[in-house]
């Protein structure tokens, strides 16, 4: 099964989750997702998702000036973003439970 299709479905959840403990700038989010195993994820997908979530009012954003490198724009979860993260997490667990049940009832080995 094409994992990129699965990824697109839960990209929002993955991005929100990667910001839940600590704010991060765009490329940092890409690195965190890759480090946790989502190696297939495209840079543009992450940035586009960050913009979309921000425009939907789920993220805060601020620029940290830097002396040595480029200014970095950091993203973080706001209240609405945390609510969305918890809601999406519940949906994901419910969904994956359902799929597990379907697989088990059909006698498919895990």
């Amino acid at each position: 099964m094409d994992t990129t299709q699965l990824l697109k479905g839960i990209l929002d959840l993955a991005v929100l989750a990667s910001l839940s403990n600590e704010d991060g700038y765009g490329y940092e989010v890409v690195r965190r997702l890759r480090a946790s195993g989502l190696e297939e994820i495209g840079d543009a997908s992450v940035y586009g998702t960050l913009r979309r979530l921000f425009n939907q009012g789920k993220l805060t954003s601020y620029v940290v000036p830097s002396e040595e490198g480029p200014n970095r724009k950091y993203y973080g979860l706001n209240r609405a973003g945390r609510d969305l993260l918890s809601e999406a997490t519940k949906q994901w667990h419910a969904f994956s439970d359902v799929i597990d049940r379907v697989l088990n009832s059909q006698g498919v080995a895990a």
Partner: protein, 313 residues
């Protein structure tokens, strides 16, 4: 103070990605591009291969960025929209005007400049009261109605151009409308000339041998009266060779015809029929077209012009 030096490669990649957003509004474009420079700089600092090797082709990046940002993808295989068209299109973001209360966004861009010049020009015609001889669009008899229709048509034209960027079917419609508009414009110039609506025709007509009184006063019409003094209508005046007498002073007649919509053919059907001006209105308000009084010796009787020769102007 961070170094503001952007490498050539990053600049080129940014430009190429931006080309993939040519059909988007300026606001969407700015939104998508704001993180791009930071991202590309980070990637190039990592130094593992070129930007294209690392991130893929700029067009693919642009497509994926706008897709994940929730914007419409561009149809595949379509050539990039010329930038001028997209700027014209973004000049009329009507939906955005309706929904965006907080931002005071005025129309801008070449599209608005063109429409503005058309509106000013049309406004000048309306203000002038139509005393110029240039045809003005009318809706029925209403110049204001014609003006409104022209504004609406301008909006339709720009909206059509905007749609044409997004979908092939609208591009076809837009090209067809353009061709029809050009052909119709050419047709109009030809018909207006044959109806004598331009200055050259006026001048030419004035030099044709025209019936005038001895002092040069133009004879605009002939009012035939019967023996009982009542105005006769529909009288045909022919010479013994059955040739209609038509060379009256006809300058105001041309103006009259183009305004009241009478066609040239009507005059050809029954040439030499008098009185000519009966029942037709002069709509410019500038000339008072003399009509024949129903009875001889009526209100606008003037003394017979004297035979004293007047110097030519």
């Amino acid at each position: 103070m961070s170094a503001d030096v952007i490498s050539e490669e990053v600049r080129a990649y940014i430009d190429a990605v931006e080309a993939g957003f040519a059909d988007l509004s300026q606001r969407d474009r700015d939104d998508l591009l704001q993180d791009l420079e930071e991202h590309l700089t980070e990637v190039s600092i990592e130094g593992e291969g070129s930007l294209e090797e690392r991130l893929g082709a700029p067009s693919a990046y642009a497509a994926e960025l706008r897709r994940s940002a929730g914007l419409s993808p561009r149809p595949d295989g379509r050539p990039e929209a010329p930038v001028a068209w997209s700027r014209i299109a973004e000049a009329f973001p009507v939906r955005r005007w309706l929904s965006d209360y907080r931002r005071k966004r005025r129309p801008s861009g070449p599209g608005w400049w063109i429409l503005r010049s058309v509106l000013i020009g049309m406004g000048a015609f309306v203000a002038d009261g139509g005393t110029t001889n240039i045809p003005f669009p009318r809706a029925g008899d209403s110049r204001l109605g014609g003006f409104v229709v022209m504004v609406v048509m301008a909006w339709v034209s720009v909206t059509l151009g905007r749609r044409a960027i997004g979908a092939r079917v609208w591009r076809v419609v837009s090209s067809a409308v353009t061709i029809v508009a050009i052909l119709y414009g050419v047709y109009l110039t030809q018909t207006i000339q044959t109806q004598g609506g331009d200055l050259q025709t006026y001048k030419r007509l004035l030099t044709v041998q025209q019936l005038r009184h001895a002092n040069g006063y133009p004879i605009l019409d002939i009012c035939p009266y019967g023996t009982d003094g009542a105005l006769l209508k529909g009288v045909r005046l022919l010479d013994p060779g059955q040739r209609p007498i038509t060379n009256l002073a006809s300058f105001p007649r041309i103006l009259l015809r183009s305004r009241s919509g009478l066609s040239a053919e009507q005059d050809l059907e029954a040439p030499g029929t008098y009185p000519r001006g009966q029942g037709a209105d002069d709509q410019s308000g500038l000339l008072s077209f003399p009509t024949c009084p129903e009875k001889m010796g009526g209100a606008n009787a003037s003394p017979v012009p004297s035979a004293r020769p007047t110097p030519k102007k």
